[in-house]
Point group: C2
Chain length 531, copies 2
């Protein structure tokens, strides 16, 4: 085996493939009811071609099932044969790609470079020698065998690259000339998950982790807030999700950080979801890894660091903020298909003209930078197509009927205004410009709708008793005067399952009495149930 | 631990980090002499600021050491603390990003979508039950522990996603309407490596794997050749590396394929490197995974499949094709920095004008879509800067001296024409357009130089004795009439270390006698030493 050149090994893992061809792969349907249902639905659709019933639970009745239904029906992801892992299907991955590329552009504009650090981390980087014998941390996946034998030192599959990046920082940083060091990595990470949920909690997930080192505290704190702002802007401008930027309490912050900042979004069931975090790490890591630099006076100083990250759970957030009983609803800026064109020709002799118009419109839209798709499938009814793209959340549908075309226009149906009432006509003349305009409007309206929902589900409460009653009846963000301790937070979580999401950057003026302790305080907090 | 919300787990692997902060990370310099040398060099540079000596071996004397020297000095990658793995540093990763993004665009233009499949593959997918007890395949890394305990079934870290993708294909494909299915994945894969070499052979590497399923053989074969052409075009147009597209012999092909096609490039030491492969898989995988579809006549048929891939070894190829005794030499289309501007002001009163010109030129170039960097570092001499960017292979350097500027031009120094002879002046007027033109010329010249080198190192030989003698004295591509068997190939490899790289798509006219067996044949082959 070792005589093969690398080029062969890349494409000729002979043993593996031959074994696979011989091996009888176990049927997994029995283990994956979701998959089985999905198959059934598809084959029913294939046979009838006009099946209209949506296999989507009512979100008001069963939000949890609704979420899984949308993911399955919109073909965003499938369960993988390994527990807790998922396959991100092309449509789901295209959404992630749009988010990733937009964020990546923002990271580069703010001076960051991407790098790539290894998947495996030596056990000794993570646990102390004594712990080897006791066992492994429950969230870690550990490689014990490789190269055909047991490894002398087990390798941990990275749960984060924190340790390895800091290890490299200590090698790369020597002088003030090497600072600031502004790195980011897009990677897969693994944390063993017992209660998996696609996009929100999976054993393997995709994320980016930014790691930066600075000469002093001011610069590092500035970076921490800059990246929190980058996340806030991205969420608002692209994902159409309003967020509350704030600071985590000591109980909720990252243990290695001096301060953790977060952006908290509200899902349409009133729960919170942490969209991203940005940490000021102080010199904690610099001291642990001995990352020192010589300043211009030749003095040895520790670097001040930050880290910040978002994950594929943002796809889950977009589903839960915007989706409705008809499925996914995508803001145009994160929609793989922004406009779907459905040609409608009932008679054979209408077909050519309608198809030509569809081609012309699609070319015009593409020329204007719009992501457009013509659904020219034969033997599938327009009604089925409407349903197909509605479930997938395509922001704008153009219906091309012969009569409309003869009159010089098409019928437009924006996903965020469902039904007949939402429809309007668009003239063929200048169709690309008007579609651009409509997409901008949809983007704005979706942000506005999410903001209105959040505002109408944000409540001020004065007392803990009031809070306990209300959080059950109407989930949402509870804004309170706050002067509690970590023990108080634990008690609230124990009794109500809610947690202090953040101390918002925008604080209320004046002072008030802590809703729990009654002590006078100038701090307000947001408390909510959270994913 | 399990009570923490996912959001906390993402950023608060408390135990891990606290342990890390306490743990004394082992010093690794003793194990990594390359790293130690590197540190030494850097600190010498930091102190003196003008060190000119390049720590790069002469490629004619020690090609192997030269390769590692270039990677270290150009800061492309560093050895990782885990054997066989590497850290891809920002400059190296930026090169890979440019290659990846260009290829990704080509894949999408040819109708493919990206998806993401899990890192872990159940052991049973890869080996038969009986083999569990015997041990693991030597190229696999195996996770045996996760969630704090030993797994019932070990998980293999993917060496390729072939099995898991085929597993999903069999679920997703039911009808002819589901075809063609055209998927691609960008991912990290792991194959345990005993003789690692950065970019060329690493335990973990980055790659893309395309997997497609089609209704019939013709369509699948067409796809196989289309992707081979995409690779060929990319190598020629972007990497400025001429390649020989051809078919692999049965001995060299991927075991699961009916036919394997390859693009073979020549490195500047005369060795071959397989740049990418495209496989026609026939129905081999369809039968193993039962991937059947109903055709329009309701007949059950197996799909015909292809797969194709390239890896981070393409970065290694670019180093070895274009690099020289001064370091890296990047073709403009894969250069993270295409133009570096070096302001030269010896007197303090010249500084403002020179810096202003640098800013103006950089803005003009950026406006024309050119990746430009102004090296405005103080306390570092122009000579040091020239050297710094030369080692990193930046295609074009603009030197801005006060006298040149006063005369309305700058001095241009293209990386591929080193020294005084290569320099010429460029008028400030229309600098962006002329730089674009110069970059195009450099791109062309680099391809032409690589092609000329390959042509001058491609030899026709008539007999095996002649070949045996020549391959030692002048490594290169040996073009021969070929009618040998797999046993003959094994013998050639045993005796000369050379392998049949491919049977070029462009075959010689007529027939000749096989250089080994003497049998009359119409087939020609390329034989060479290879990475």
């Amino acid at each position: 085996m070792r005589n093969l050149s690398h080029s062969q090994i890349i494409w000729s893992p002979t043993l593996i493939i031959l074994r696979t061809l011989r091996a009888s792969v176990k049927p997994l349907d029995a283990r994956c009811p979701v998959l089985r249902t999905y198959e059934l639905t598809r084959s029913m659709q294939s046979q009838k071609g006009t099946l209209m019933a949506k296999n989507i639970a009512n979100p008001a009745e069963d939000f949890s099932r609704w979420y899984l239904d949308v993911i399955r029906e919109a073909e965003l992801s499938d369960p993988a044969p390994v527990r807790g892992c998922m396959v991100i299907r092309p449509y789901g991955f295209a959404i992630w790609e749009l988010m990733r590329d937009d964020l990546d552009r923002r990271f580069k504009e703010t001076g960051h470079s991407n790098a790539y650090f290894p998947l495996f981390i030596p056990q000794s980087f993570i646990t102390k020698e004594a712990e080897h014998v006791e066992g492994f941390s429950p969230e870690l996946a550990v490689v014990t065998h490789a190269g055909g034998k047991e490894l002398e030192e087990p390798l941990v599959v990275r749960p984060t690259s924190e340790t390895i990046i800091n290890h490299m920082f200590s090698k790369w940083i020597n002088s003030y000339r090497d600072l600031p060091m502004l790195l980011n990595q897009w990677a897969n990470v693994v944390r063993w998950e017992l209660r998996p949920r696609p996009f929100l909690r999976t054993t393997e997930f995709l994320w980016q982790e930014g790691h930066t080192a600075h000469a002093d505290e001011d610069e590092a704190r500035e970076e921490t807030m800059r990246m929190l702002r980058v996340y806030t802007d991205f969420m608002t401008e692209v994902a159409a999700i309003p967020v509350v930027p704030g600071r985590k309490t000591d109980r909720e912050k990252f243990a290695g950080a001096v301060n953790t900042y977060t952006i908290e979004a509200m899902m349409s069931n009133g729960w919170a979801l942490q969209g991203g975090t940005s940490h000021y790490l102080g010199t904690n890591f610099a001291r642990a890894f001995d990352t020192m630099y010589l300043d211009s006076e030749n003095e040895r100083r520790p670097v001040h660091q930050t880290s910040w990250g978002v994950t594929t759970r943002l796809v889950g957030a977009a589903i839960m903020v915007h989706g409705d009983e008809n499925g996914l609803k995508l803001p145009p800026r994160m929609a793989p298909i922004q406009v779907v064109v459905v040609p409608i020709a009932r008679k054979e002799d209408e077909k050519d003209a309608v198809m030509k118009a569809a081609g012309d419109i699609s070319a015009a839209l593409r020329g204007a930078g719009i992501r457009v798709h013509v659904d020219d499938r034969d033997s599938i009814s327009p009604g089925f197509k409407f349903n197909h793209w509605e479930v997938r959340g395509v922001p704008l549908r153009l219906e091309l009927g012969p009569r409309d075309l003869a009159e010089g226009h098409v019928m437009a149906s924006p996903r965020n205004r469902p039904g007949r009432e939402g429809k309007f006509t668009l003239p063929l003349e200048g169709i690309a410009e008007s579609c651009s305009g409509v997409l901008d409007t949809i983007q704005e309206e979706m942000l506005k709708a999410a903001l209105e929902f959040r505002n109408s589900h944000t409540f001020d409460v004065e007392s803990y008793d009031e809070f306990k009653k209300q959080i059950v009846e109407r989930p949402g963000f509870y804004r309170v005067w706050w002067d509690g301790s970590a023990e108080d937070e634990a008690m609230i979580q124990e009794e109500t399952k809610a947690t202090v999401r953040c101390l918002p950057l925008e604080q209320r003026d004046g002072t008030g009495r802590c809703f729990l302790t009654g002590r006078e305080t100038s701090t307000t907090a947001i408390i909510a149930r959270a994913y």
